[in-house]
Symmetry: C2
Subunit: 203 residues, 2 copies
């Protein structure tokens, strides 16, 4: 990626380039959350970000290119895994993070828009899958620690355990008008914990 030289007073090297990217990705995320991928227009993103249209077209080229970079940024800036000392505690922290994201007034619609876009656009699907892959890799040490503590059997697949926690939360917001409530969150955590302890995820 092209970098500007350090600008005095800027937060980090390449300040101007980074600021442009931040503003453009913020505007793209806002527009996706508001209206979905089908209406994502690069000129409108540029206008909202107060960045030159040419800059946006030259750097991101297409709406799919912009969404792919947004997902890279989301993966880079998302929260690190917990280390509460127990599998249940770590999975609960992960469930809370997912639930807070999915019910957030901006992040919730944004994730729904990204999942929807991935169903029709192959480049977005690749970028979205890479995002989830990064998240699963980031949180896998929680399951490895549980294994080291003897909470789960050898060979337990970290990604399968973590997916078991997230899946019911996504399923709820995509297939139901009922709220993503505490019962759903705690049932997701408890069933993942029990199933992991029992060796269901030794796969």
């Amino acid at each position: 990626m092209e970098r500007e030289p350090t600008i005095p007073g800027s937060i980090r090297p390449g300040g101007r380039t980074a600021r442009i990217r931040d503003a453009v990705l913020r505007a793209a995320g806002d527009l996706l959350a508001e209206r979905g991928f089908a209406h994502l227009d690069l000129s409108e993103v540029a206008a909202r970000a107060e960045v030159g249209k040419t800059t946006v077209y030259r750097r991101w080229r297409t709406p799919a290119g912009l969404v792919a970079d947004l997902l890279v940024d989301m993966a880079e800036t998302s929260l690190p895994h917990s280390d509460t000392g127990s599998l249940r505690g770590d999975l609960r922290a992960n469930a809370d993070l997912v639930a807070n994201t999915l019910t957030d007034s901006r992040q919730g619609p944004l994730f729904r828009a990204l999942i929807a876009a991935a169903t029709t656009d192959d480049a977005t699907a690749t970028a979205l899958h890479a995002f989830y892959d990064t998240r699963l890799a980031e949180w896998s040490p929680c399951i490895e620690s549980a294994r080291a503590r003897g909470e789960v059997p050898p060979g337990t697949n970290p990604r399968a355990v973590l997916s078991a926690v997230s899946a019911p939360l996504y399923y709820r917001i995509l297939t139901s008008s009922a709220p993503l409530d505490e019962n759903t969150i705690s049932a997701a955590v408890e069933s993942a914990v029990i199933a992991a302890q029992t060796g269901v995820f030794v796969i």
Copy 2:
């Protein structure tokens, strides 16, 4: 709903109306699976169904109206619940049904398109949630039978158990490029069985 009188030689009363509906919903499902909701055009549906454009516009009015009726038809014609004599057997049958649907070359893209459409269109969201509500109600007797056999504790929520089986399958196809494989299906069934037995879904 308007019905034609019985037509001699037709399969059922209102044969012509029913045949038109079948053809239109089939074409709508095909187009949704191929290109998604954003490109669903009533004139194109009419042409593909070999039905007059006026008929389609008068009866279904909008793409969302057409999708809502498609979901009503899908709920009406979807397979009844299993009765294998065990919770594990019934949940496995349900998981196989969901997995076969999601990996089918037509039904898979169709479901992805419907889920995507529901993220941007409120009427489609209402219709999609009603579809899943009907499916959960249809399969709930499996969990009530398991309760009667003493396989799960009193107060077990049938919808929570059934959602626990489906959720990992949907999560896999929406967030990953990895295939919906036997490991994922059997882990979904086993964790739902174990969690249900343990009382996690008494909620």
